[in-house]
Amino acid sequence: MIIQFFCRAVLLGVPLLYGSTGEILTEKSGHLNLGIPGIMYVGAISGVTGSLIYENSCGNDIANMNPLLAVLIPLVFSIVGSVLMGLVYSFLTVTLHANQNVTGLALTTLGIGLGNFLGSSLISITNSDLPSIALTNTSSFFSTKLPFYDKLGVVGELIFSYDFLTYFAIIIAVIVAIVLNRTRVGLNLRSVGENPATADAAGINVVKYRYIATAVGSAIAGLGGLQYVMAYASGCWTNNAFGDRGWMAIALVIFALWKPSLAILGSFFFGALCNANNYIQGLGTETQELFKMIPYIATIVVLIITSMRKKREHQPPASLGINYFREER
């Protein structure tokens, strides 16, 4: 029971981890991308589209499917979809100096609309009786577990029982942490987010860094949507099922104090909070609805605590949300 709770918490936390790692990378370059919820939808639906195309080309027969292609095609589709969304965002905010909050929110509207629109179009194409798309074959490749996990008892269950995208999420978070804090590229990126004018004067290409950080961040966030559909929901796309996870991912960025390493723990903690209502004994349905508030209340508590303790290393990048225009000093 406790082990199952822990495993569900990790699975629920992984989309948040992808989302917040991507958002941390973007925010470190000084851009607050509120389009992440929409981008995660697009990442998910692009992956679904890709795998649907591949499944149909194989005659919906799992025997004909090449495991590598079955995984790679949705991955590539998902990344391309979310990078395109990220490029729209960076074109508007970096090149056209549009307001970041407004652009992000509009992009979220667009992304969720795209997700639901493509979702329902694909549902009608597949002639499904249910309002959902089932990609069980692709999902079975995505959720392939390590071969030895059941031989290790509890440890195997706790640590080795997940799909590969879960491990991938942790690896990406660690890589982003290393790149941000231990490499020259990361140093440059952070300086762009802290003070773009100084970075510009030092010869760093601010525009390039912001474009790349947003595009890569979006790609990472989009994978979160894909992981949700393929591993958590067993390959089943339902409109609006992804819900508000994108917003929670953005909240997690503050929770993690802009550190990807803390985001790993934070996302599992959030996953546990999201799931707690199912594991507390003796709750009626109505009280469960109240218990679903817990993650949001926890976020607010974290927001308040971090704002009360004004430690210098816990602050957002100094020029977060401010567009940089070279001729304006």
Binding site: L92, V102, A106, N239, E286
Partner: protein, 372 residues
């Protein structure tokens, strides 16, 4: 450096560069915005042609019918529904405007409206039948305004005291409100997740028109908000705090007080919208009462440049698109989310076109300006 300049010029001066400009007249700026809207509409027309197989004119006729109905045949029901939808989105945009003008990103319109709606439905259920309709409506008004104001006050206090990030705080308050509604609906709906329309405390119908009162209330709010922002001392304080908090402090404005007061107003107006939705329209409540319009309202307030009358225009266009494109999607057997895409697209176009208003592109050789 100066000596090198002439030799470098031929190699290193970029093809064009971007210059900020503040001199574009309001009329010209509007020309850019209107042309953007026209270009977007032409694009939407072409997309609709491809999707439905109709010609350009028919596509717009479909949109027109979807939004306004057959008004030329004297059937006004659709038109009233259109006006009602505009009124609700406009009310939300107006509610957010004072906060945005102060650079307080209130993303919590959804939650504040839900709480206002919750207060209304509680009054309607608990007091309905025990009071006359008019006193009951007064109680509903007071309680829903208070509920919305409190929901807006909580993040404002923390913003004023600790500078807590208000964007996420207000967002999280939305989800808490949603869960409270889910809880309440479950209890009152007897597990069916539906509260049947409550016959008490409903706004009166004028003629046989259910929405008239709502539309009038929002029209009054629009005018009051314009006066409040433009001519009142408090409105002036809001714009000073929005421009620069340091300036505000220097001239002796109590910034904390302004933040809290403005958010109470913002939340209270969201509460009013909640009341309009519950007592004036649905007579019931569910978690999807606001349906994401709180976010659209943020964009409307921004695109309306904090001017209530421009917001009327912008919300009018967006609701027209939403209903009209939904009709096109419906005819083409497409999902109604198609209209969300189109609305998102048009808003992004409008956000992007501001670039051509605030900046101009200067080319290297001929000093020609590129107009949008």
């Amino acid at each position: 450096m100066m000596a090198n300049k002439s030799t470098m010029k031929t190699h290193h001066e970029p093809l064009f560069h971007v210059v900020k400009r503040d001199d574009m007249s309001a009329g010209k700026a509007w020309l850019v915005r209107i042309s953007t809207i026209v270009i977007s509409f032409i694009f939407i027309g072409f997309v609709s042609m491809v999707l439905t197989g109709k010609n350009f004119g028919e596509a717009f006729e479909t949109m027109f019918l979807g939004a306004f109905g057959r008004i030329f045949d004297g059937r006004m029901t659709m038109l009233w529904k259109y006006l009602q939808d505009v009124a609700i989105l406009l009310a939300l945009s107006l509610a957010l405007t004072p906060a945005f003008k102060m650079k307080f990103w209130n993303c919590g319109a959804e939650g504040q409206t839900l709480m206002g709606g919750l207060a209304s439905i509680i009054c309607m259920i608990e007091l309905g039948g025990k009071m006359q309709t008019l006193p009951l409506i007064a109680v509903i008004a007071v309680s829903s305004i208070a509920a919305g104001a409190i929901w807006g006050l909580i993040p404002a206090i923390f913003k004023a005291l600790f500078n807590t990030n208000e964007t996420l705080f207000t967002l999280m308050m939305n989800y808490i409100a949603t869960q409270i509604i889910a809880y309440y609906v479950y209890i009152k709906g007897g597990g069916s997740n539906v509260i049947n329309p409550v016959p008490y405390g409903n706004f009166p119908t004028v003629g046989d028109n259910d929405y008239f009162v709502n539309i009038v209330i929002v029209a009054v709010i629009t005018i009051l908000m314009f006066i409040y922002l433009k001519f009142s001392k408090q409105g002036y304080e809001i714009s000073v705090v929005g421009e620069s908090q340091n300036t505000a402090r220097y001239v002796g404005i109590n910034v904390k007080k302004v933040i809290i007061r403005t958010m109470v107003i913002s939340g209270a107006l969201c509460g009013v919208t909640g009341m309009l939705l519950v007592a004036g329209k649905d007579h019931s409540i569910n978690t999807n009462l606001v349906g994401g319009q709180g976010f659209t309202a943020i964009l409307m307030s921004w695109l309306g440049q904090f001017n209530p009358f421009i917001m009327v225009f912008m919300t009018g266009i967006v609701i027209f698109l939403k209903l009209g494109v939904a009709k096109i999607a419906d005819d083409a057997l497409l999902n109604s989310s198609f209209s969300e895409i189109i609305v998102g697209f048009v808003i992004l176009m409008l956000v992007g076109c501001e670039f051509f208003i605030h900046y101009s592109i200067k080319f290297r050789h001929n000093k020609k300006e590129v107009k949008a």
